[in-house]
C-alpha cells in the first residue's frame, strides 16, 4: 500500500510538473510592453513554487513508503518536534514568499501607480450587456458628454453609449465595436460600464481591468506588435457573458490615422 501510494503521488507530481515545464499550455503570446516583465515574474514564481511542489510531494511519497508499518522492524522516533527546525522553515518560507512578492511589485507599480504618459492616445472603453464599445476623441482630443437617457444598445456605436449629440465636443467622437490602436504608442484607457460589472481582458496585451458602473477607471498599456488580438469579458455579467467578445486590431500609426479618418467621414 505504501508503494502504491508513493507511485500515485509521484506520478501525479510528474504529470503536473511535466505539462507546466513543457509549456504545453502557457500564457498566450505577449504583444505589449509589460508582457516580458509579467511573464518573467510568472516564470520565476513558477520555478520557485515548482521546486517546493516537487520537494514536498516527493517527501510525502517517500515518507509514507519508507516509514510504512513493518511490524517490529519499524522503530518509531518518540519526538514532539524541534523548535530550531520550526524557526528555520518559518524564516525560510517568510523570506521566499515575501521576497517573491517584492520582486513582482515593481512591475505592478509601473503598470498601475503611474498615470499614462503624455502623448498616449485616449480611448474610452464602455462595457454593457453584452458588448464592448470603444470611443475615440477625434480631432479636438476631448470626449463629449454622454447621457444615460439616450443610451440605445440596439442602435449600436454612438447611440449605444448615449453620446450627447448637442455637445460640440461630442461632434467628432467616434464609437466603434472593434478596437483599433497604433503600434508602439501607449493607450490611455478610461474604463466604464453602464449596467453591471464587466472586465476588459486582452490576454496578449497582458491587460485586465474590471469596468465598474459609476467609476471611470484610468489604465494604460502599450501594444508592441501589429496584429489582431481577442478581447474577452472576464467578470460574470449575465447570460451572454461567454459571448461578450471583441477584437483589438493593432496597426501602424499611418493605418490608424487612415482608419480614424474614414470612420469620421462615415458619421
Amino acid at each position: 500500500m505504501g508503494l502504491a501510494l508513493l507511485a500515485v503521488i509521484w506520478l501525479i507530481t510528474f504529470f503536473s510538473t511535466y505539462f507546466f515545464a513543457a509549456k504545453t499550455w502557457w500564457l498566450p503570446h505577449g504583444a505589449a510592453e509589460a508582457a516580458p516583465w509579467i511573464d518573467h515574474q510568472f516564470a520565476l514564481t513558477y520555478f520557485l513554487m515548482g521546486i517546493v511542489f516537487v520537494a514536498a510531494q516527493g517527501a510525502l511519497g517517500l515518507f509514507v513508503w519508507q516509514y510504512r508499518d513493518r511490524g517490529t522492524a519499524s522503530k518509531v522516533e518518540y519526538s514532539h518536534g524541534n523548535t530550531t527546525l520550526e524557526l528555520l522553515w518559518t524564516g525560510l518560507t517568510a523570506v521566499l514568499f515575501i521576497g517573491l512578492n517584492l520582486m513582482g511589485s515593481g512591475v505592478w507599480a509601473s503598470e498601475r501607480f503611474e498615470p499614462a504618459k503624455a502623448g498616449a492616445i485616449p480611448v474610452e472603453v464602455t462595457g454593457m450587456q453584452f458588448a464592448w464599445y470603444f470611443r475615440y476623441a477625434g480631432a479636438d482630443g476631448k470626449f463629449g458628454a454622454t447621457n444615460p437617457k439616450l443610451m440605445d444598445p440596439s442602435a449600436g456605436n454612438e447611440a449605444a453609449i448615449g453620446l450627447e449629440t448637442s455637445d460640440p465636443a461630442a461632434k467628432d467622437d467616434v464609437v466603434t465595436g472593434t478596437m483599433y490602436l497604433p503600434v508602439n504608442r501607449q493607450v490611455d484607457l478610461t474604463l466604464r460600464a453602464v449596467d453591471v460589472i464587466h472586465s476588459f481582458f486582452v490576454p496578449s496585451m497582458r491587460f485586465k481591468q474590471d469596468a465598474v458602473p459609476g467609476l471611470a477607471i484610468h489604465m494604460h498599456f502599450t501594444p508592441t506588435e501589429v496584429g489582431d488580438y481577442e478581447i474577452a469579458c472576464a467578470e460574470l455579467c449575465g447570460l451572454g457573458h461567454y459571448k461578450m467578445h471583441g477584437m483589438l486590431k493593432v496597426v501602424s500609426q499611418a493605418d490608424f490615422d487612415k482608419w480614424l479618418a474614414e470612420r469620421e467621414a462615415e458619421k
Binding site: 514564481t45 517546493v52 515518507f63 513493518r70 505592478w108 450587456q129 449575465g238
Partner: protein, 577 residues
Amino acid sequence: MATGEIIHAHAAPQGFIRKYVFSLDHKVIGLQYYFLALIAVFVGMALSLLMRIHMIWPTAVLPLVGEIKPETYLSLLTMHGTIMVFFVLTTAPQSGFGNYFLPIQIGAPDMAFPVLNMLSYWTTFVAFVILIAAFFVPGGAPLHGWTGYAPLSALPTAGPGQQLGADLWITSIAIFCIASLMGALNFITTTLDLRAKGMTMMRMPLTCWAWFITAILGLLAFGVLLSAGILLLLDRNLGTSFYVPLVVVNGQVMGHKGGSPLLWQHLFWFFGHPEVYIAILPSMGVTSQLLSTFSRKPIFGYRAMVYALMAIGLLGFMVWGHHMFMSGMSPYSAFAFSIMTMAIGVPSAIKTFNWLGTLRKGRVRFHTPMLFAIGFVSLFVSGGLSGPFLAQPVLDIPLHDTAFVVGHFHLIMGVASIFGIFGATYYWFPKMFGRMMNETLGKIHFFVTLVGTYSIFMPMHYLGMAGQTRRYSQFTEVAYMQRLIPLNTFITFAAFITIAVQFVFLFNLFWSMFKGPKASDNPWEATTVEWTTTTPPPHDNFGGKTPVVNHGPYEYSVPGAPRDYIMQTDPATVKAH
C-alpha cells in the same frame, strides 16, 4: 468546569421526534448536519456534472433536464458554489463532526447550549430548503455566481433568475448566517467552559483547536455577510442604493443613484476569505489527528500547529482585498493585501512541514482514514502553491477570473476539505455507528478520487494560463479558447469517473451502517477521549462517569509505556511526556 456538567445535563429523551428530529443531543444534531451536507454534496455534484456536460456539448439535450441554456448554466454554477461552500464545506466538517466530537473530545456531556444547538440546525435546514426553492420559482435560480456581485445581483432586470430566485438566494444565505452565528457561540462557549478536569487548552486535540478557531472566525465573519445581505435585499426591494450607482440596463435607466459596487465586494470578501479558512481549518485539524494516530507518533510541533492555526485565523481577516486586485480598488492597497496574503502562506507552510515531520520516522498504518489524510496533505500542497501566483497583483493581470483560480480554490478549499471530511467519516464511523466501514471499498474510493480530482483540477491551471476565463458556459465564441476544448473534454470525462466512484462511498456508508463488522470501543488504538467511551457513546457521552485527563492528545510510541499509545484519560502514573 466541573459544575458545568450538572447545569447542562439533560435527561435522555423518549420518543422518536424528541430523539431523532428535534433532538437536543449534540451527537444527533451532528449527524443531522452530516446527512444534510451529504444530501447537499450530491446535489452540488450533480449540478457540476451538468455544467461540465454543457461546457463540452452546449447543444446536448439531456434526459429529464432537457437542453441547458447559457443562463441555466449560470444558475447551475451559482447554486453549485453556494451549496458547496455553505451547506457542505461549512456544514459537514464544523457543524457536523464538530458538533458530534468536540464535546466528547473535551470530556463534556453535551454542548453548552443544547437548545441553541437544535435551533441552529433547524435554521440551517430552513436555509437549505429556501435555497433549493430558487430552482422552482419563475425565472429559476439566480445567475450571479456564488459571490453575487452587485449590480448584477441587485438588479431584477439584469437577467433571468435575478427576480424571485435572487431574493430567495439572499434570504437563504442570511438565514444561514444566523444559524452559523448561533453555532459559533455554542462552539466557543463549549470549548472554554466545558472541558473536563485536566483538559487544559494545550492538551486539546488539534481537531478541537481547529473547531474552536473556526467558530471564532464564523462569529466575526458571518455577521458581516448577514449585514451585507440585508443591504442587498433593501437595494433589490426597497429602492435603496447601497451597491448600485446610476445604471442603464438594456436602454432603461434604473432608479438607483450613488451606490458603490465595490462596497459589496469589500463586505462579501471580508466574510469570503475567512470563509475559506472556515472550510479548511477543521479538515486541517482532522488531518493532524489522523496523521499522528496512524503514524503511531506524536504530532510534530503541537504548539507550532496551534499557533499556526491562530495565525491563519488572524491573517485570514486581513487579506480579503486579494480577491479585488482587478476590481478598480486602489493599486496601493493591492500592494498591502498582497503582502498579507503572502504572509499567510507562512503558517500554512509550517503546518505542511509539521505533517511531513509527523510521518517521518513513524510507523504508518494504511487504513482508509489515513489515506485520505495523506491525500489531504498532497492536495493542500498542490492547491496551496498556486496561491503565491494569485497573491501577486501583477500575476492576477493574466490569471484573475480564469480557470487557474477555479483550479486553485477547488484543490485547496474544495477537494482538500472534502478529503478531510472523508478522512473524518472513515475514522469516526465506528464510534458513530458502532460498525466498521469496508476497507477495500474505502481504498478504491480513495485512489480513484485522488487521481480523479487531480485530473479535473490540475488541468484547470493550464487552461487559466492559456487565458480561459471562468464562468463561460461554452468556449465557441472566442477563437483562442476553442483550441482548449480538448483539455476541457478530458476534464469532463475525469469528472464522470470521479463522481461515479462517490457512489461506492455512499454504498459503503449505508451498507456498513447496517452490515459492517461490529467495532470495538477503540478500533484505531487512538488516544483521544472519544475512544474511551462506549461505541456508540451513551446519551450523556460517558455513562454518568466524568473523564479526567492526565495526558496530552498524541502520546504514541512513548518509550517504556506498556503499549504503543497512552490515552488521555490513562492514569498519570503511566509514563508520558
